[in-house]
Subunit: 307 residues, 2 copies
């Protein structure tokens, strides 16, 4: 049985926390619904979700609650890559059995300088253990953070050996030449997502599938407009407009800035909270972010209630 | 209640795996006993233990089995630092409640470029949650792998605010100036371990407490000899001799090489196995390692049975 592969815009959904730092399922669910209403699918448990500050148990619990609250697995691409094979398999099994259309999989990221052979053995062990036709892996290439590059050779080898299971990649290298290289592999029906909307037009022109970007948490309607109309006149202008918004967020640590924007838009300070080792924006950073977003008349559409 | 702090030699105990990659508790226990017989204590779940390729569950299970098999908590400094506060707390609680004399704690290592404030918040959250007088944390500084440096400012702040809980550091920066800087802080009764025996004599001269080194898995008797006699004539020669052995291992990826040496010494190929993303030594690497160890007449003392 074949599952339709993702395309378009996905948001690595930010995770709200309560006062005791436990995940705030109510606000999380509301934000997921809002992001969906803005025409983006949900890459929960990504880097911007502070997923690597969550325990495996917390992720399984959140995923089960999202699904039981009526979010369709068809919209979900949870991050399931941990450092250990067991935990990656446990989380991936949960995602697959709950009907998630795909999973975003980090390579194991503790040991550095590992070989393509070692990474291939890791991914193939995971795939063999999950052993499910409904498994659809999007590899997660984010060397600035994971410090583990995925070579085009490795990607080719994985897709060749597991053409049904390895179906795409998110490239958050921040380097267009790298995203271009993944597109140039021309692997059949392989979905290349850029990790920032600033490469969206280029990625679509190169044969890519869309983007999975932090700022899709706050600006997905506009980003999706470019995705839908990239062949039309005016696409360069659209690219420029979404870049302008991204540029503002990039002046700050991205995750706290996204949460702060949601807090500001919803007048809900609870949203500002991050888990250590991250730190929330300071009062003056928050004021500056507010001012900069107002200057470009940025407003998240269809504000959702902060509670 | 005050616990005696560690000093001397600890081995980051390598973890043997069965054919299905599950931890081999029988061989693990035998190796732990052998390392103890060679006058080293047991820093299980360190980098060299492939601890970050084990799940939290597996680590808890292994620790419980070690203790129930009669290994004393007094000899144990398990690594308990994970990326999420919850998992670090869970593992640390287990270690403390089982009577481990200390824990070796990595900083959260996924998010990069984090601030001292963020790291301080992380460690203090862990300490407050564990909330146990018997908690003794040895910070684990290994920037080449974790990519998260711990500044002397941060260390001083932690020891100042939690003088009973933060009792030492293992410095695996590979940079003597860094280990020296931790010693120069002159924090009261704070134990500075170097992460390689090649700095042992220097570390002792600078006021350090010993070393926690990969090669203590195979050569701890000789390393401990230097620790015991560093003020005596002949210490420079002893340093030279243990350096010679270390230099051989450093020609290979360290973890597979250590396991291969144990496999060779015990004529037990089971010991060669590593978990992906690591890769075992090739046949020719294994032969070369064997030859080089024979050339310096290296033999692990009191060979233990391989099962």
């Amino acid at each position: 049985m074949s599952i339709e592969r993702f395309s378009g815009i996905l948001a690595p959904v930010v995770t709200p926390f309560k006062d005791d730092l436990s995940p705030d399922i109510g606000r999380f669910l509301k934000h997921c619904r809002w992001v969906k209403s803005q025409n983006a699918n949900l890459a929960i448990f990504g880097t911007n979700s502070e997923a690597n500050s969550l325990s495996v148990k917390e992720k399984i619990d959140l995923l089960e609650k999202l699904i039981s609250s009526g979010i369709s697995g068809d919209a979900l691409m949870p991050g399931t890559g941990c450092c250990s094979i067991n935990e990656t398999v446990e989380l991936t099994n949960t995602a697959v059995s709950l009907g998630c259309r795909g999973v975003l999989m980090l390579p194991p990221f503790y040991y550095k300088g590992v070989t393509d052979d070692g990474l291939f053995a890791y991914f193939s062990e995971v795939i063999e253990r999950v052993n499910n036709d409904r498994l659809a892996i999007y590899l997660y290439h984010i060397p600035p953070i994971s410090q583990i590059p995925l070579s085009t050779d490795l990607v080719t080898r994985l897709v060749t050996d597991y053409p049904k299971a390895v179906v795409g990649i998110k490239d958050s290298s921040g380097d267009w030449k790298q995203t271009e290289a993944f597109n140039k592999l021309k692997l059949p029906n392989f979905r290349v997502f850029c990790g920032s909307e600033s490469f969206l037009l280029q990625n679509m022109e190169a044969g890519g599938a869309g983007c999975i970007s932090a700022t899709a948490n706050v600006n997905s309607l506009a980003i999706n407009e470019l995705f839908l109309n990239w062949t039309m006149p005016g696409s360069a202008q659209k690219q420029k407009e979404i870049d302008e918004i991204r540029d503002i967020f990039q002046r700050y640590p991205m995750i706290p800035a996204l949460k702060e924007a949601i807090a500001l838009n919803n007048e809900d300070a609870e949203w500002s909270r991050v888990r250590p080792p991250l730190v929330s924006l300071s009062r003056s950073q928050s004021n500056a972010l507010k001012r900069q977003l107002e200057q470009v008349s940025f407003k998240m559409n269809n504000l959702f209630s902060g509670q």
